[in-house]
């Protein structure tokens, strides 16, 4: 998949930022280097990589992280925004009558993509036709014809003709009945003047609504020049990346999108006509960065904090950072977590927790954790205000009373007290870090820095959260 590895290597570097609230220049330098590396390994063009990383670096240093945002999330957010900015939306392809022209290097997969797109449009209820104008490559006609057959769409080509422009003209006429015309062309590259002139001519005859540059996912730095040249010749409105079922990252597509100021339209992921996907930028980048859905997560955190805080005026989260973390605070913290919704959903949105990480947890891990939190809550309900404020003063006999009152056992109550002690310790480490607030604490927890970390208990998801 496109840039898949960027996610994991970037996450690795970002993990080093855990526990930091302020970014030092060195930290950012390291992250930026990692980003550069990942992008370069994904075949994104060097200048573009430098541009991107400069802009990320500049913003990371200049922009003050919004309150409650850890350094790590701050950087992640910037990377996310910069990539979104670059990739833009998916190429607009209205489901109506239209003509699409395909262009690209030899062997990039134009003919296969033509058939796949035709299949895609057919599935959307339109009647597509493929017009094959490649008169140069032996077997091109047969290949296109057969693939059109596989996709069960109209086809026009003329194995005996040798003028692609004429074929295009005739083809449009012959397939008049069709709603979507997909014009396939011979492979050519940027330096072949004659062939570039030829596609310009085809372009003017066909007058397409959309011109797609078909790019092999494995293309390297050369993507820039090719994209530039095709952009000059016919204009490029979108990019189709092929052969993404291999190990190539398809960074050349980002280069091309940048050069042509266009967007990604389709992803080719296999050899049959069904192996095509529309490009979805948001899910693509979110997944790329392993960030689940940061936007939605931050909204949820905010809402949860509001809900939690609004119910109780005399609870001041700031006091936690002044060194008095009580069971009351812990209860609030858990409440806030609860207010965010089902744990597994929340986990999915937490950067670095989605995908593979979730798979490693036992299936019932979320249930166990949630169950545990509920139980702790019941126990705390059986405590007096004094006990909640001063958990250290709770004696063995009090523990017994609380256990009876909450319908649990002393073991559980002690676990709760242990948990509180651990969190208190963790919190003490956070003190003196400046303008911290509850929201940042939440972030810390999500970053796996303690907090509710141990709630899962022995061997469970403890430490994972």
């Amino acid at each position: 998949m496109v840039l898949d590895d960027l996610g994991s290597s970037l996450r690795g570097t970002l993990d080093d930022l855990r526990g930091k609230s302020r970014l030092e220049e060195d930290d950012i330098q390291e992250v930026v280097k990692q980003i550069q590396r990942s992008l370069l390994e994904a075949d994104v063009e060097v200048d573009l990589v430098m541009e991107l990383s400069d802009s990320i670096k500049g913003r990371a240093l200049d922009e003050e992280p919004p309150g409650g945002t850890s350094a790590r999330d701050h950087v992640l957010k910037i990377v996310y925004e910069e990539l979104v900015e670059l990739v833009g939306d998916s190429t607009e392809l209205p489901l109506e009558s239209q003509t699409i022209l395909l262009a690209g290097l030899q062997g990039s997969g134009k003919t296969t993509t033509a058939a796949k797109m035709a299949w895609w449009f057919a599935k959307k209820g339109l009647r597509p036709a493929i017009i094959q104008t490649d008169t140069f490559r032996p077997g091109a006609y047969d290949q296109a014809k057969q693939m059109a057959g596989n996709a069960e769409v109209d086809f026009y080509g003329d194995p005996d003709a040798d003028d692609p422009v004429q074929i295009a003209r005739d083809g449009l006429e012959a397939t008049e009945q069709a709603e979507v015309h997909i014009v396939d062309t011979a492979g050519r590259h940027a330096l072949e003047e004659e062939l570039i002139a030829e596609i310009e001519e085809i372009d003017s005859v066909v007058d397409p609504d959309t011109r797609l540059l078909v790019l092999d996912a494995a293309i390297g730095q050369g993507a820039k020049e090719q994209a530039q040249r095709f952009e000059e010749a016919i204009g490029v409105e979108g990019v189709a990346i092929t052969k993404l079922d291999g190990t190539a990252k398809g960074g050349g597509a980002l280069t091309a999108v940048n050069e042509t100021d266009s967007s990604i339209a389709f992803l080719g992921t296999g050899e049959t006509v069904q192996d095509i996907e529309r490009f979805e930028p948001n899910s693509f980048i979110s997944r790329l960065l392993g960030m689940g859905d940061l936007k939605q997560l931050s909204e949820r955190v905010e809402r949860a904090m509001e809900e939690t805080g609004a119910e109780d005026d005399d609870w001041n989260p700031e006091s936690i950072l002044e060194g008095s973390f009580t069971l009351k605070d812990m209860q609030k913290q858990m409440e806030a977590m609860n207010n965010m919704g089902p744990l597994d959903q929340v986990m999915d949105m937490i950067p670095g927790m989605g995908g593979g990480m979730m798979d490693q947890l036992p299936d019932d891990a979320m249930d166990v954790t949630q169950e545990r939190m509920r139980e702790f809550n019941v126990i705390m309900d059986s405590m007096t205000d004094g006990e909640l404020e001063e958990p250290r003063s709770i004696s063995a006999s009090q523990v017994e009373r609380i256990a009876r009152g909450s319908g649990t056992n002393t073991e559980r109550v002690n676990e709760l007290l242990e948990q509180h002690k651990m969190m208190d310790r963790t919190l003490n480490q956070f003190q003196g870090m400046g303008d911290g607030d509850m929201e940042r604490m939440m972030k810390k927890m999500q970053d796996g820095e303690g907090g509710l970390g141990g709630l899962g208990g022995g061997g469970g998801p403890g430490g994972m959260m």
């Binding site: 370069l40 062997g107 090719q226 079922d245 990252k249």
Partner: protein
């Protein structure tokens, strides 16, 4: 091809020279301070240190402010001592600096030599890495090349009459030749010496130009007096038979095909039998393009390799391929050990780093370049020539 890398290598060479010269200036000023007790001398050295400082800032591009900072820091470290014109302080600063000790420095200075240190190389090497990556050399391969260059250069003393550029060039030349000329053999000679018929199987991912390369190689062989038969082992792709058939017709060669969906190994095997029966010299066996991630197709390739047991397996990839070139070369080499590589579309791409990556990772030579759409657009690959060309042999 390779023009892009050539430009970048030249600029790398210039960078190294500049950095080394700056360092040399700074060294000199520090050494001056060492020797001087008179305040007049010290003032002079301060001035020269400042010069070096200013120079380093001016010389560096804005994208490498690190090197400016590093150079400035280095100069700064030595400047205070000269400011105070106190020889003790100067000694201290020398002692605390890393790399060659005072003695070696002094000796080098006395004999008119400059020692190249790690710090001098850091930024130029970064630039070189970028240059290699920009030329599509795969990252791990680029790093390997950098390590070699660094190893060769650090601690090296150069005479002042000799430029750092010359040293870099030598180190780079050696590193590149090492990588790219790996296992070179004379293709023509091997064809001449082998028992006929020789079976050559072509492998590679989709769309890299296997079929076209077969047609070209058939023509190449004909030019050298060898007959060949084409066997279309691509029984999968639509239009594959027609494509090779057309080539065979154009070139007036015999072609063996089976129906689409047939057993590729059987087709090539038939090709071999045909060649034996008809005294044909070379069997050119095409295979379907496949992505190395497809287990089924890769094991099919293993089977073809086992059944046909070709005399030579040539991996075909395109010069425009980027970082992925290494991965697929490796996978194909693992499935059916290759003897060499044909790099196609070399007329498209100016950088050609894929050649370096593939040769490095497979340990097998690049044998041919495909340079256009005509049948005669195939050229034997000459590594030495390429490296000379890269580094500008005219210099």
């Amino acid at each position: 091809m390779f023009d892009g890398l050539k430009d970048k290598l030249n600029s790398f060479r210039e960078d190294v020279e500049e950095t080394a010269e700056e360092a040399a200036d700074a060294d000199e000023s520090a050494d001056d301070a060492d020797e001087s007790t008179a305040s007049a001398d010290a003032d002079e050295s301060t001035a020269s240190a400042d010069d070096a400082d200013a120079e380093s800032v001016a010389v560096d591009d804005d994208d490498s402010d690190d090197s400016a900072a590093a150079a400035a820091a280095e100069t700064d470290a030595e400047t205070p001592s000269s400011d105070e014109s106190d020889s003790d302080d100067a000694d201290d600063s020398d002692d605390s600096s890393s790399g060659p000790g005072t003695l070696k420095r002094a000796a080098a200075f006395a004999t008119g030599k400059v020692i190249i240190e790690e710090d001098d190389l850091e930024d130029p090497l970064w630039e070189l890495e970028m240059a290699l990556l920009e030329s599509d050399v795969e990252m791990s391969v680029a790093e390997q090349i950098l390590d070699t260059v660094e190893e060769t250069m650090i601690g090296e003393t150069r005479k002042q009459v000799e430029t750092t550029g010359e040293l870099v060039e030598r180190a780079l030349h050696d590193a590149l030749v090492d990588v790219i000329s790996v296992g070179q053999f004379d293709f023509d000679e091997r064809i001449a010496e082998a028992d006929k018929p020789i079976t050559i199987v072509f492998t590679g991912v989709n769309g890299v130009g296997k079929t076209t390369s077969i047609a070209k190689l058939s023509e190449y062989l004909a030019d050298r007096g060898y007959s060949s038969v084409m066997a279309n082992g691509d029984t999968y792709r639509a239009g594959a038979n027609e494509q090779l058939q057309q080539h065979a017709e154009n070139l007036d060669r015999k072609i063996i095909t089976h129906e689409q969906g047939g057993d590729p190994a059987a087709v090539i095997y038939d090709g071999v039998e045909y060649a034996e029966a008809n005294d044909v010299d070379v069997v050119l066996g095409d295979t379907a393009g496949r992505l190395h991630t497809s287990d089924d197709l890769m094991s099919q390739l293993e089977k073809i390799d086992r059944v046909v047991d070709p005399d030579m397996t040539l991996f075909v990839d395109e010069a425009v391929a980027g970082q992925d070139a290494v991965m697929r070369a490796q996978e194909f080499n693992d499935a059916a050990a290759i003897d060499g590589t044909i790099l196609t579309k070399a007329d498209v791409d100016a950088s050609g780093g894929a050649a370096i990556s593939i040769a490095y990772v497979t340990g097998k030579p690049i044998l041919f370049l495909g340079t256009g759409q005509g049948y005669d657009h195939i050229e034997p690959f000459e590594p030495e020539e390429l490296v000379d060309q890269l580094l500008g042999a005219d210099q």
